[in-house]
């Protein structure tokens, strides 16, 4: 499909109604991607009418935004890509989306996703898989694959996704767009349907670093409705750096294995060369505990998920199945058995197991201890005497083929091998498109110390300027 960039600066000059009409046309033509779950002309018109009442100087005036379908809104259903929330419409809008709408953002649609954000390919949506905009046989990554595909296809300039263990950076890398995960606590989770509460972060896709930074800036900041948000001033939009002089960039050896995909390696080599060219000092560092990130993540996230998903019991909302025995246990079994897909059921089982009496110490408690060690690794590398930023591949390979990993959960989990540890450490990180290999985008991951999103985005802005994201890397 044709990618027509609507940069925020363009939409700012357009009356909202024009933007809404253009959006409808683009959403319509993007239907084959299966990237959207809910959108309607009437909702777009309502958004346009609402924006017409706002100050045109609002920071995101008439900027179209796609929302991952785990962000609750009162206008459209919120299904989390699951049958168990089919038709569910929230009675409230979350904090981040509320702030964005107040700042002028135009909610374009709800985007498809892996069910309850569990997956790395957006093949685990109950409403069908999302296709990669550049190759329909490939996956866009996940779990925020719908949002990533919509930005990559030029339908919207920016979109919200959510991260628990890389669910924005990984699809951003696959789709060749910018994907930014803020520090844990920077953006309120109120209104984000919980998966792994100690990891969940509302995160942003943008066609440019600046677009993503502007969206992130508006939605960041303390929220009295989320006890885990931090009391800091909202993140300012950084000006991109002219060069990277004075910055030290660390390359963690563990993130550049010998068997790294050659296209990915070439993309990173190109990025490292560009950073050096811009004046950055490049240094090798070590993050030894990162190798335990995936198993640690797959204990902590499912444990929290098992509890977070207990509320979908068919009692208060969502489809209810009565069950063969007619009692409450039978209702739970039937409703949850039919409502959750295989991957969600797998993680609920794992999460329940690792918290069970007799297994808690061996799994959950141990995983928390390892999580602390992983975080310490990053603190040491990015702390005093260390480097200013870390640079790694975002993913071990470019976008893979649909169906390639659906039968092998562990292979799917390993698609997140370079993004998981950062989530466990609660740090800000982003994926920047740095070129293509055989037509498929390659992403570089930039990691910053806690609450240093500004440093990360400013450096990314400098690299963005010199790296042709559409150029072949080898």
């Amino acid at each position: 499909m044709t990618s027509v960039p609507i940069h925020a600066e363009v939409s700012r000059r357009e009356p909202a109604g024009t933007v809404a009409r253009e959006l409808a046309r683009r959403l319509q033509s993007a239907e084959p991607l299966n990237a959207t779950l809910h959108w309607s002309q009437s909702a777009l018109d309502a958004e346009a009418a609402r924006i017409a009442t706002l100050d045109p100087a609002s920071p995101l005036y008439a900027m179209p935004l796609a929302l991952k379908d785990n962000l609750v809104t009162t206008e459209e259903p919120t299904t989390c890509g699951s049958r168990i929330l089919e038709g569910y419409v929230s009675p409230f809008t979350g904090t981040a989306v509320g702030r964005l709408r107040d700042a002028g953002a135009l909610v374009a649609c709800k985007a498809n996703m892996d069910e309850f954000a569990m997956g790395s390919s957006t093949e685990h949506s109950a409403y069908g898989r999302v296709k990669h905009p550049l190759d329909p046989d490939r996956v866009p990554g996940g779990s925020s694959g719908g949002s990533a595909a919509l930005v990559a296809a030029g339908v919207v300039p920016a979109a919200l996704g959510s991260e628990t263990g890389g669910s924005v950076r990984q699809p951003a890398s696959f789709c060749g767009v910018v994907g930014v995960k803020p520090s844990y606590g920077r953006v309120s989770r109120y209104g984000l349907v919980a998966f792994g509460s100690s990891l969940d972060c509302i995160s942003v896709f943008g066609r440019t670093v600046d677009d993503a930074a502007r969206v992130l800036s508006v939605m960041s900041g303390l929220d009295p409705l989320d006890a885990t948000t931090v009391d800091r001033p909202a993140m300012a939009v950084p000006s991109p750096l002219r060069d990277l002089r004075g910055l030290t960039v660390g390359l963690p050896t563990e993130y550049f294995p010998a068997d790294l995909h050659p296209g990915v390696r070439a993309g990173l080599d190109r990025t490292i060369a560009a950073a050096r060219e811009l004046g950055a000092e490049i240094r090798e560092v070590s993050l030894p505990y990162s190798r335990y990130a995936v198993p640690t993540y797959y204990i902590i996230a499912p444990a929290e998920a098992a509890a977070n998903l207990a509320r979908y019991d068919g009692v208060r909302y969502g489809p209810r199945r009565v069950g063969s025995e007619g009692d409450i246990r039978s209702l739970y079994r039937a409703t949850r058995g039919a409502g959750f897909g295989a991957e969600v059921r797998r993680r609920i089982l794992v999460g329940t197991y690792v918290l069970s009496a007799g297994y808690y110490d061996a799994y959950y408690r141990k995983a928390q201890a390892v999580r602390a060690l992983i975080a310490q690794d990053f603190q040491r590398a990015l702390g005093p005497g260390g480097v200013d930023l870390l640079l790694t591949p975002t993913t071990p390979t470019p976008a893979f083929k649909a169906g390639e990993k659906t039968e092998d959960p562990v292979a799917m989990y390993l698609a997140d091998i370079f993004v998981c540890a950062i989530s466990l450490a609660g740090l800000p990180a982003m994926s920047l498109p740095v070129g293509r290999d055989q037509g498929l985008p390659i992403g570089a991951q930039i990691i910053a110390p806690e609450f240093e999103e500004g440093r990360m985005l400013a450096a990314a802005g400098a690299l963005e300027r010199v790296l042709g994201a559409a150029e072949e890397v080898r």
């Binding site: 929330l85 409230f92 929290e304 909302y317």
Partner: protein, 473 residues
């Protein structure tokens, strides 16, 4: 004497006296229409998050301090996972291995062993679940989530009680303390105090505890006592028949007075507690805890001792006055207005308490009761007349003396008036007059009583006797 020793420990859930819920702004008001005090947070809707209620934490800390517990600088909210239709999130937010407070003690009067203390293992904060209504719709169960998210403190005692009566006495004192510090209303009717009782039996002298069973959800102190009697009898019956007690949870049926098994230990839930990632650890500064301690009112024990020591009250009277903050406050206010302590205590216990127990307030202003006590002391009104005046003092704004005048209850010591009443009494009781004159002089008391009655308490008893003696002489 039973050859078995009973060992009891109690888990008490009290509703903390906040206006809003533990993790959202919904009202805690009792008796509203089903599902009217609810919001996305307490309904457990997707995307909603809990935020702790600072006032609930304050009240829980005060309760813990009143129970002599250490309030910890860091405690952790944990999720207690289980499925039940009254539990909207599929987990209850509670505290588990790092509770708000630990290690207290409650001193009280055991009916069997006198003054004793029961150890308090811990006090933690949690949210209540909703309520299932089985009688609203035929064949269906309805869910009312007004209670879901209401703040509770769970107070766990050591197994220090040795009888059902002792358990009841502990509960009475515990409730008194919690009401005293304003932590909870402790109203069993409104469900703001619920008890789970753990009980085991063993041979006297045995140091190891027997296998315990838990009787759940007891909703009155009388039922706690009854349930413990029933469960003790069940366990003793098993052991005396040569059997064993197996650990289980039982429910008490208040109708039949029997306990019935709910689930065995094997069937008990694995709650899979883990720290709630939505809530950072609860950190309380030492200065804040100190402040709560300073703000605690004088507690009932200390107050009772002070009333005895500095006002010379009898132990029983001091106990009644100190039993509730409002009574003690009223007493102190009456004293402040110049009344003599013992008289004030008698007035409160004998007269003022009736109205207080009915309405929950003292209708007679303290200055007016003090004034009434003064009028009695100065013989302006008799004690008997004063008791008739007292109920009027809540309605009438005039001076106490004016009320007495209006009611014609001023004491009469005028000999002429007294003589009239005496003559009426003597002519009404010729038989007694004859017996008196025959030497049965102790009948003088009878005549005085009759005169007091005829005068409706107005006659000055000290002036009446010489008049009677004179008329009969």
């Amino acid at each position: 004497m039973t050859p078995w020793e009973t060992v009891v420990g109690l888990e008490v859930h009290v509703q903390l006296g906040t206006r809003s819920k533990m993790f959202c702004g919904c009202s805690t008001a009792f008796g509203n229409p089903p599902n009217s005090n609810v919001c996305p947070v307490c309904l457990g809707l997707p995307g909603a998050l809990p935020v702790p209620n600072a006032h609930a934490i304050r009240l829980a800390a005060r309760a813990a301090l009143a129970l002599g517990c250490s309030v910890h600088g860091r405690s952790v909210f944990a999720r207690k996972n289980y499925f039940y239709p009254d539990l909207p999130k599929g987990y209850q937010i509670s505290q588990f291995d790092q509770p708000l407070a630990t290690g207290g003690a409650v001193a009280f009067e055991s009916p069997e062993r006198g003054r004793m203390t029961v150890g308090i293992t811990r006090l933690h904060v949690e949210e209540d679940a909703g309520k299932l209504l089985h009688d609203r719709f035929p064949g269906k169960t309805a869910v009312d989530l007004n209670r879901a998210g209401v703040p509770l403190a769970e107070i766990v005692s050591e197994p220090d009680m040795r009888s059902p009566a002792e358990a009841k006495a502990y509960l009475t004192t515990l409730r008194q303390l919690l009401v005293y510090v304003g932590a909870s209303e402790c109203s069993m009717e409104k469900g703001s105090l619920r008890v789970d009782a753990n009980i085991s039996v063993r041979r006297p002298g045995e140091t190891k505890l027997g296998t315990k069973c838990e009787v759940k959800n007891l909703n009155s102190f009388a039922n706690v006592e009854r349930a413990l009697h029933a469960e003790r009898a069940r366990q003793v019956g098993l052991l005396e028949a040569g059997g064993r007690v197996t650990q289980m949870t039982l429910l008490f049926n208040a109708g039949t007075g029997q306990v019935k098994p709910l689930r065995s230990k094997e069937e008990s839930h694995d709650y899979r507690y883990f720290p709630d990632p939505d809530l950072p650890p609860l950190v309380l500064a030492p200065a804040w805890v100190k402040e709560q301690e300073h703000e605690l009112p004088e507690l009932p024990d200390a107050k009772r001792e002070r009333l005895i020591a500095s006002h010379g009250l009898a132990a029983y009277d001091a106990g009644v006055i100190a039993s509730e903050q409002a009574i003690a406050d009223y007493f102190e206010a009456v004293l402040q207005a110049g009344a003599e302590p013992k008289a004030a205590a008698n007035w409160i216990i004998n007269d003022a308490m009736t109205g207080y127990n009915e309405s929950g307030e003292f209708r007679v202003p303290p200055v007016r009761l003090a004034e009434l006590i003064r009028l009695v002391a100065r013989n302006v009104v008799s004690q008997q007349a004063a008791r008739k005046i007292f109920p009027e003092l809540g309605n009438d704004d005039g001076s106490v003396q004016a009320v007495a005048e209006r009611l014609e209850l001023l004491q009469v010591s005028d000999t002429g008036a007294l003589t009239d009443w005496v003559d009426e009494v003597l002519s009404a009781h010729p038989a007694e007059v004859a017996r008196y004159r025959a030497g049965e002089t102790k009948l003088i008391g009878f005549f005085v009583g009759q005169v007091m009655k005829r005068s409706q308490g107005k006659a000055d008893p000290k002036g009446v006797q010489p008049v009677i003696v004179g008329r009969l002489g």
